[in-house]
């Protein structure tokens, strides 16, 4: 009775360096966009470096994975960034972490590693031990103030700005209260999760690590990981498990959107809205707590299924809570939408044109607000979405308001989805642990996170390990669009514009090794004693 919804989600194609650009162009013109890419150190197998470009073809409902390889002694492949802007960051990342160079890439600057990281040290190569410490070279940041003249002011935003809830750095160039340009420097929050997972963790430990990629949409990451592995190993997942996964994913989406509404209100100076939205969100947190035993980081997913089942009376309670959550959200949203000056702050602000959106390959609400009709849940059905029915809201305003409206519609879609799931929840097992892990199988799992498409790629390593794990969070694709949105806007609008992609920097930054910002540790040990010592 079990089945895998994941059949035929992707095709891995080996392409030769000279034809890759052509293929990519074809795909892009066919309506596909660049999802993500990873570099792999495959030297232990075949003495070559490999680059996997994952390209999402929503129309065909399939991911095309283009695999390029390069010999150990000359690790260099042609760049596809000139053809498709969206590939820029992925290629720079591969260059940083694995040391594959991309010929005629527009700027193969450092993206992830700190400025003072020594050259020629590639942390994601297999000959780099995960616990090795690297001494910095004392280089300084190089991004700031290229576009400065005496009539322009450069306004720093971050790394510790109240608007950003995580450390990132924007530099705005302002002239007469208008933003004439913006620089971005990210990846301050380095945690080295990939390395950790590949070298120190077992198959069923990684879901919990994946969940901690993001504090808000963790469940979607663990789900994507599990799907990738299930895909690689051809695991049959029980139907009930799939339903429960969808359930939690939707609960998470509601919670995430309500949170965003709150933050948006706060950034627009409307703190009451902030409070009220979070009041509504509280019920959703209660639902999560009821079902999974925790308000956040549900820890529900395992390879092959889920960990907790739903009893009948839990379902009843959940429905009751859902009732209240929906009522409150409806009330607050109606009020907020009724506030003219608040809407005016969002209308026509932070415009991202459809063309740019396509080329950069933005995902989720940002894409849907720019008139791109894409949604992984519908285009690549996973979990239980195949047999649930829901609408995908698309707006053509291309501005912050449209993103706001998309999220509103999605929230209420999710409420109905949760209901559907709870109503026709199939009986049966919730996990299937009878499976064997093949060696060097490729798997791709993707989910529609609250912020957009979330892709995990896995190469299995046999004996309960993964050889390569590459998660890509939605913000990774949305962030490059922010400088475009900021151009020509009022300084006062910068916060809401940056927030309008619902950025999740820690998601984006999961992949690297050392923490550039780490200060020295004053004292490690019993707090009382530490306090004592620091006093002296």
């Amino acid at each position: 009775m079990g089945r895998s919804t994941l059949e035929g989600r992707f095709r891995v194609i080996d392409v030769s360096p000279d034809e890759v650009a052509e293929v990519v162009r074809e795909l892009f013109e066919d309506g596909c966009y660049y999802a993500t890419g990873m570099g792999v150190d495959e030297r232990p197998l075949n003495g070559r470096f490999a680059v996997y470009h994952a390209i999402n073809c929503p129309k065909r409902g399939v991911y095309v994975i283009l695999r390029l390889t390069a010999p150990e002694d000359r690790p260099s492949v042609p760049s596809i960034t000139p053809v498709l802007r969206g590939a820029e960051w992925a290629e720079r990342e591969a260059h940083d972490m694995v040391g594959v160079t991309f010929e005629n890439h527009p700027n193969l600057e450092r993206l992830i590693l700190p400025e003072d990281w020594p050259d020629g040290v590639y942390p994601l190569r297999k000959d780099f031990p995960y616990n090795r410490k690297v001494a910095g070279t004392g280089g300084t940041a190089g991004v700031r103030g290229e576009r400065h003249d005496e009539a322009t002011m450069s306004v720093p935003l971050g790394p510790y700005h109240p608007l950003l809830h995580e450390p990132e750095y924007f530099e705005l160039y302002v002239r007469e209260d208008r933003i004439v340009g913006a620089d971005y420097r990210g990846f301050h929050v380095h945690r080295g999760m990939e390395k950790l997972a590949e070298s120190r963790m077992t198959l069923n430990q990684i879901p919990f690590l994946a969940e901690r990629i993001c504090g808000i949409c963790g469940c979607t990451h663990s789900a994507a990981y599990c799907q990738a592995v299930e895909e690689a190993a051809g695991v049959e997942v029980p139907e009930r498990a799939l339903y429960i996964r969808s359930l939690m994913l939707e609960v998470e989406r509601i919670h995430s959107h309500l949170l965003w509404f709150g933050v948006a209100c706060h950034l627009l100076g409307f703190d009451s809205g902030f409070m009220h939205f979070w009041r509504a969100r509280e019920y959703v947190m209660d639902i999560a707590e009821l079902i999974t035993g925790n308000r956040k980081t549900y820890g529900i997913n395992l390879v092959g299924g889920v960990r907790r089942d739903l009893s009948g009376e839990k379902i009843q309670k959940t429905l009751k809570l859902l009732e209240m959550a929906e009522g409150e959200s409806r009330e607050v949203i109606d009020n907020v939408v009724g506030m003219k000056e608040l809407i005016a702050r969002m209308e026509g602000v932070g415009v991202l044109r459809r063309k740019d959106a396509r080329e950069i390959g933005v995902v989720g609400p940002v894409a849907r607000a720019s008139g791109i009709d894409t949604d992984v849940r519908r285009d690549h059905p996973y979990a239980a979405y195949g047999d649930l029915d829901f609408k995908v809201p698309v707006y053509r305003g291309c501005d912050v308001l449209s993103r706001f409206l998309v999220r509103i519609d999605e929230t209420f879609e999710s409420f109905s989805l949760v209901r559907q799931i709870l109503e026709n929840l199939p009986d049966g097992e919730i996990i299937n642990e009878e499976y064997s892990l093949p060696y060097m199988e490729f798997g791709l799992g993707s989910t529609e996170a609250p912020r957009g498409e979330d892709v995990h790629m896995v190469l299995t390593g046999g004996e309960n390990q993964v050889y390569r794990w590459h998660p890509r969070a939605p913000t990774y694709n949305n962030l490059p669009a922010v400088p475009l949105m900021l151009e020509g806007e009022d300084v006062a609008d910068a916060p809401i514009i940056i927030a309008s992609i619902d950025p999740c920097f820690s998601c984006t930054d999961h992949v690297s090794i050392v923490d550039a910002g780490s200060g020295r540790v004053l004292w490690r040990g019993p707090l009382l004693e530490g306090v004592e010592r620091l006093r002296r």
């Binding site: 209260d177 506030m339 000056e341």
Partner: protein
Amino acid sequence: MMPELSTLVNVAFVVLFAPLLDGIERRVKARLQTRQGPPILQSWYDLIKLLKRPSIEPSGSFGWLFRLAPAVALSSVLLASTFVPSLLARSMGFWGDLIAFVYLLALASLFLALGGFASCNPYAQIGSHREISLLMAEEFSLAFIVAGLAVSAGGLAFSAMFPLPLKASSVVGVLAFAVMVYVSGARVPFDVAEAEPEIVEGPLIEFSGRSLGLMKLTAYVRRLLLFTVLLNFVIPFGGVLRSSVYVAALLVLSAVYAAFEAYFGRFRTADAVRFLKRFAAAGFVCWLLAVLGW
């Protein structure tokens, strides 16, 4: 009672009561946001905490101006509180009139801005120039209102203006003035200068410890004085009755204003200026009525 004595009482009252008023407003807002909210005395606790802390001066700041700013700001509002009758009807009325009052409040925000610039912090600079832009826009509306009231009262001295004669013009003027009280109290949506998520408290960003305490106290006293003048326009009688009515009215006013504040989002500077520019029409109407003798 001698004016000197009652003035002392008034100043003391203003200084002590202004933070309390803020505490009440915070409580009201909390209720409207379905929160418990801090205790009424919270603003006082904060002030005391700040006044205990030493203040830090940003290196590369315009030292003495940076230090001077909070001191001048506070002393100008306190000076205003010496000749505006608040708790007791009698005060150093002969020290100043409405014009002096307006100028002293402007002086306070002027030095807030200067202090911001003196800190040489980018956010402070942005915030300060917003503050001044808003000040200009306020004066644009306020000027007509003042002129209107002056005409209908036949003078600018408090002796002539408190209370205003019962005319159409004075009614319009007082209503318009009430709006200006809201605006120049730097309340949402007009708090563009201190917008926390954008420019991190703007001019105040570098102020800390005592100097920040003084700045905050200045803001509280400023709000209280604006309320006071507004009430003086309407409260007709003196004596004990006046004091009690006055305090009660203060509480009501601050509750109402806080409630309004809870239901607005922040303006852009341009929006705020545009609003005030349009609002000048109300002031003009007031003036017109006054000149027509209504």
